[in-house]
Point group: D2
Chain length 450, copies 4
Amino acid sequence: MQFVIKNGTIVSATEMYQADVAVADGKIVAIGKDLSLEGYDVVDAAGKLVLPGALDVHTHLAMPFGGTISSDDYFAGTRAAACGGTTTVFDFILQDFDEKMVDAVKRRDALCAPDAAVDYAFHVGVKDVSGDLLDSMEEAVEFGVPTFKVFMVYDFGVSDGVFYKVLQKSKEIGARISVHAENNEMVNMLVEKYISEGKTSAWYHYMSRPEFVEKEADERAISWAKELNAPLYIVHLANKGGVEAVTKAKDEGYEIYAETCPQYLHFTNEVYKREDGRNFVCSPPMKGQESQDAIWDAIIRGDIDTVATDHCPFQSYEKDWGKDDFRKIPNGCAGVENMYPYMLSMANKGKISFQKAVELCSENPARLFGCKDKGSLSVGKDADIVIYDKDKEFTISVDNMHSDCDHTIWEGAELKGYPVQTYSKGRLVFDNGEFLGERGWGKFVKRSLK
Amino acid sequence: MQFVIKNGTIVSATEMYQADVAVADGKIVAIGKDLSLEGYDVVDAAGKLVLPGALDVHTHLAMPFGGTISSDDYFAGTRAAACGGTTTVFDFILQDFDEKMVDAVKRRDALCAPDAAVDYAFHVGVKDVSGDLLDSMEEAVEFGVPTFKVFMVYDFGVSDGVFYKVLQKSKEIGARISVHAENNEMVNMLVEKYISEGKTSAWYHYMSRPEFVEKEADERAISWAKELNAPLYIVHLANKGGVEAVTKAKDEGYEIYAETCPQYLHFTNEVYKREDGRNFVCSPPMKGQESQDAIWDAIIRGDIDTVATDHCPFQSYEKDWGKDDFRKIPNGCAGVENMYPYMLSMANKGKISFQKAVELCSENPARLFGCKDKGSLSVGKDADIVIYDKDKEFTISVDNMHSDCDHTIWEGAELKGYPVQTYSKGRLVFDNGEFLGERGWGKFVKRSLK
Amino acid sequence: MQFVIKNGTIVSATEMYQADVAVADGKIVAIGKDLSLEGYDVVDAAGKLVLPGALDVHTHLAMPFGGTISSDDYFAGTRAAACGGTTTVFDFILQDFDEKMVDAVKRRDALCAPDAAVDYAFHVGVKDVSGDLLDSMEEAVEFGVPTFKVFMVYDFGVSDGVFYKVLQKSKEIGARISVHAENNEMVNMLVEKYISEGKTSAWYHYMSRPEFVEKEADERAISWAKELNAPLYIVHLANKGGVEAVTKAKDEGYEIYAETCPQYLHFTNEVYKREDGRNFVCSPPMKGQESQDAIWDAIIRGDIDTVATDHCPFQSYEKDWGKDDFRKIPNGCAGVENMYPYMLSMANKGKISFQKAVELCSENPARLFGCKDKGSLSVGKDADIVIYDKDKEFTISVDNMHSDCDHTIWEGAELKGYPVQTYSKGRLVFDNGEFLGERGWGKFVKRSLK
Amino acid sequence: MQFVIKNGTIVSATEMYQADVAVADGKIVAIGKDLSLEGYDVVDAAGKLVLPGALDVHTHLAMPFGGTISSDDYFAGTRAAACGGTTTVFDFILQDFDEKMVDAVKRRDALCAPDAAVDYAFHVGVKDVSGDLLDSMEEAVEFGVPTFKVFMVYDFGVSDGVFYKVLQKSKEIGARISVHAENNEMVNMLVEKYISEGKTSAWYHYMSRPEFVEKEADERAISWAKELNAPLYIVHLANKGGVEAVTKAKDEGYEIYAETCPQYLHFTNEVYKREDGRNFVCSPPMKGQESQDAIWDAIIRGDIDTVATDHCPFQSYEKDWGKDDFRKIPNGCAGVENMYPYMLSMANKGKISFQKAVELCSENPARLFGCKDKGSLSVGKDADIVIYDKDKEFTISVDNMHSDCDHTIWEGAELKGYPVQTYSKGRLVFDNGEFLGERGWGKFVKRSLK
């Protein structure tokens, strides 16, 4: 199938300009003024923006957590992604004990491959580096999964010593580590304290993981990376002190990257005082206004590299388990469908430029994570394209979302502008609110950081 | 004239990819895979890089200084630019006393327009803001010259009070100030001191303007900009302390930009110990290794925004005036032909990426200085194109340069790779060492920072 | 004359303890428990604090300024000092053009010696370093005046180049430079601006010398000192940014000292909105609350070294000259009688410790300025002693002050505690509100920084 | 017994001056010029310095560690102290599980009281805060032990959560926490790594606890203290990054104190390459030259508050257990007898002033730890006095030391100047190399931080 998107305004990480985009065989084949190509269908994008599809480098699909499984499976999650202009989804695989890294990848790929509606990639969450397992990272890199994650919290989190060894290994083999940074011992103490005081509401989820708990872990993680001069990527950065630590490390020349999420840019910890506060429970939790402001400032000056979602929805009945005990609330919220529309809306409202939105959601994730065929509308890249209507008013509601989840924390949020079409490798997968894709269309993206 | 450059690798500030570039009527009209366009000539760029032409935002052509005039007039300077892959040249006009800013522009444009071989733009160097002259900045902005410069040194330099007023005005009218930052009183004292001690060699040019003299002025200039929250652009940054001040200001969210020059990246103050040290005399002078390293580090982490040349050549006999008295050496060196080849060579040698070289020499200057049709090879932009041969070995010599100057400080420098063709608005102006352009081809670039 | 002060509580820079103090021949001869010394009178200080007299290292007595002369001559100024517990007064001498430093000292010493009621010392304000005058600093050092001052403002201020040379010389000869740091060109521009806008009230004195004008000069002064690794003492530091620059320099190991004044600790720029705002006009002016807080914080953490007064009173009729034009207000306020009572009152109210007040007003000034017989009540030191009643309530009024000035900016200020006796070298010079000293009792203090 | 020390030069934290010191009933009763007191013996100190005895706030006497007990019991340790001019010794008590804090104090006081040759005090090392044990800190404070310690390493170390709770409690009850800061998980990982690689020499003790392992823990500890705005005292600070973190926290106004030890000032990690490297094994280990330089710089600028020893000697045969496995080397070295002589020698050699040595070893420890009768030679204080001969050459050797230990890491160290007499509360306990004290002379010092 061949077609040309005419009359739109192309947006890249650095530019906006009017030109037509021609697509053939799932690839972008030409960009030009008034392209008239024989045998090409014409899609009129007059008055619209033509954007590269987003990459959400942080989702948890069908993930076991807190006694249940996140509600979006690989089909539902990638369907929602497509409907939000995200054309590549990264899932976190949690390694089993005694499991080689590449085996973990293969185990989950077997689940994902038949279901994915858009292209997908994996990171491996490292739990066990005993015996040969540390060395087994290298096979995963060769398989096309050069990014790993360590958790400093949760029962499957790793000690500082293991974190350090994993960092060291990653540097040797051309991989890179992502880190979920919160101080585990501090969280445990605070949880126990509040519970023992009978303080069980969602607000105490926040109080158990406040700013300083995340900040300290950010600083510690950066310490190890500096010592090894190893690259490090901090996921879902949500606090001011952590932002400062990232800026300082970048100034010193270290390869420290930071990701934040739309929920930290839009909500503050005030949400935990709402009656439905438990629905907003994720870790790290939303923080105070000062942290939100600091993150936006860092975006503007270039010290936040990417935006991703930590997409991990749970049904209301599951969230309700923790109505009277915040410990029992499964951690996580939906987001994959909201990221690009939210960031583009913030551009449309003037907070940032459209180019910056594309940089954070598409160009940078593609480049940093080694998706060489993604991240821009340059000739030769995959035709992962979003057509965006700047004038469309859109109010988010569970009714117009495409996750398998019965609520959304974004309910009622008013966006200025919205994606009207999404193409995945040249195939129309979303059109004016309707999902048009199919299971299995998405393929595994083999990546390399070199 | 219509043609297509085929089989090359396009480089932008963010990407490198293989595609063909089609040019018609001096504009880029299409980029595509295997473009076959009727009526288009074919230029084969197989194995070559295809780059946007550079913008040199800092030159002094035919400039009166030290009792003479810089040796490149508007023709020679733009000819040299074309031969070095630079397709837009910014000249500094020095306002006369009692002269309205726009009148200064018109005065020099009359000289430049008949001669320019590539497109050109102006900044106005502000000397006199008495009476209505401060307000006269606005007319210049409307005329398409929204950038002004203040000198903190020289007899035509301005006081801190005037600097502050100019900054304040620039913020009101959507202009931006550039600053030459050295401490005038300190320079004067040191010059007097060394002369009184009989220390007259070129080394004492450096000793009269060492690191701390520039650093302090950088810090002071940034102070005023912070106080007013006005954007500020520091030209030819050449010292470590100044780099640190820029980084700090950027971290704090201020709109402070920094330019450096190839001479500070390649040479150190050691050159002033050479017998021909006077040929290297420019202000600020080259500094020590520590400063050079700090500037490269800042380039890599993104705290230097642009590279430009401060091109201002003088003939040997003029330089010789200061053989026995460094005060009598006209300040300035040739550079406009060397910038892009040098930076690309440093990319080719692995110090930075080709994208970074393009960002520093083309994309950033175009964006920061409001040249909306320059800075990349995107569809719709001017066809200012450089074809670059990565494998060509090139040794700089006065014999293969195109300035009207009888020597070059770059004599003997060995570059890896070199431009083989330059197109200015679709016209071939440089081909394999030979200038093919013509006087008057270059046009005034009307700019706006909005 | 011999006497013992019994039953009081001695305060030093580090301690408070109960002991008797014996004085003979103007010196402290013993400190002990229940001293019973034959032939010694007894002074009962039960319930009182026994303190070393203060040193005010910053006064301007009988100083020509703004077309008049500061109203306290050497007698009045030292009388006021005695009545405020200050037993050593430093006066700034302004060098004449073409005058050797030591000649300036002798010139003023001739005026001061017959009149001084307490011991005194001099700094020389440097104006002219042409010819041999720079070298003439050394004679002054040998004479016992090892401290010099440069002004960055006023028509008698010096250029950066001269400042640098003076700093360099001071380092060679064991002297130390003090600096009045404000940016002269910025002050001039702002003054001209406000006057041209018809803004002539005392508030525009502040607006012409706001925080950033002082901060920049602090930073610049520190730059020169760092470059030379020369000690530097910043007088009357009154702004937050300057405090930060001092702290940074100290952290880096540079010998940078800072003095502040009681007026900056007690008043803010709000005073300039008062009808009698002109009476508060001094330079630098009082700043905003944020600066005041920053100075107190620096006192508490140890980054302010001394408190002094910049005592320089003018009569109301002189202040009135500037009623309609702030430029015509003579700069300066009375303070020498208020410093120690104010700082001790702040200790008594709990803001700082009594030890800290003694450190700032006595121990540090004595040590930093080479008054080896001053600064504490240790055996062998001059018997410059203050007996302080913590329970005495005191409201400052022009009626209970001892300057030759018809008003005081401290009018109405309520102090908790007040000095009840002052001894100068064993002689009672102040007793319960009454001056008991005499002209000529005070002697020149020959100092050395070694 | 009454006596007067005549003709010496008294040194305090701020001054040096000639005066006589009279002692009666174990207290200093007078300081004066030419004191002639009836019934007082005369001690001639002509040409000597007369100093307050030092306080060593960090020793481990008779401490169980690594399967043995530190070799100095309360008698030997305090005997050695007396012979090194240290007249107050603080011992760390390690709380037992399920033991109230005050019970731990009483348990060890029962051991110490009969044996101590000089005054002593305790800190409690906190292990167990379960149940009421956290609250039991308050009783210890009332008993006169207001200082506690947490270990971030060792099997008896505490988690971050417990550390935080202890800090919080300390703030409520007027206590203060000391911390041994190293990262436990990192140490464990590195130890395991080196052992598994067959790297077992003393050098790998250092390699398992290098700079960054201590630095990170310093930063983390300071994080908790800042969050709570609670005072914190870092023991045996031995690395550059930690020094920087302390300086930053002090600048920000936090009450963070730092102690270092003579071994970190004199030795570097080079000692671990020596054949007897195991004798130098202590934790934290000596670090590189850069750290040593940073600590000296911090001493000079005032960012190190105290010097103490971490005295904890083991016999050679015990050290030998780890000849082939650094894990088996008991951690600790002798030092209590070396601190004051070493620091005074460094003053005598010109590195610091004698006042600074007194401040670090006596005045500051006394003030910070609430020993109101110690820390200076002021009237009313305990007559803990050291007479110091600046001209005495002294080479440290196990033969002239007074510990119960068969070697010393200081063997061969050449000191300039040495204590010749020590008085403990007016009693001569050390005279020219000979211990003259007795068991039980030392008493428990009841302390309060208020």
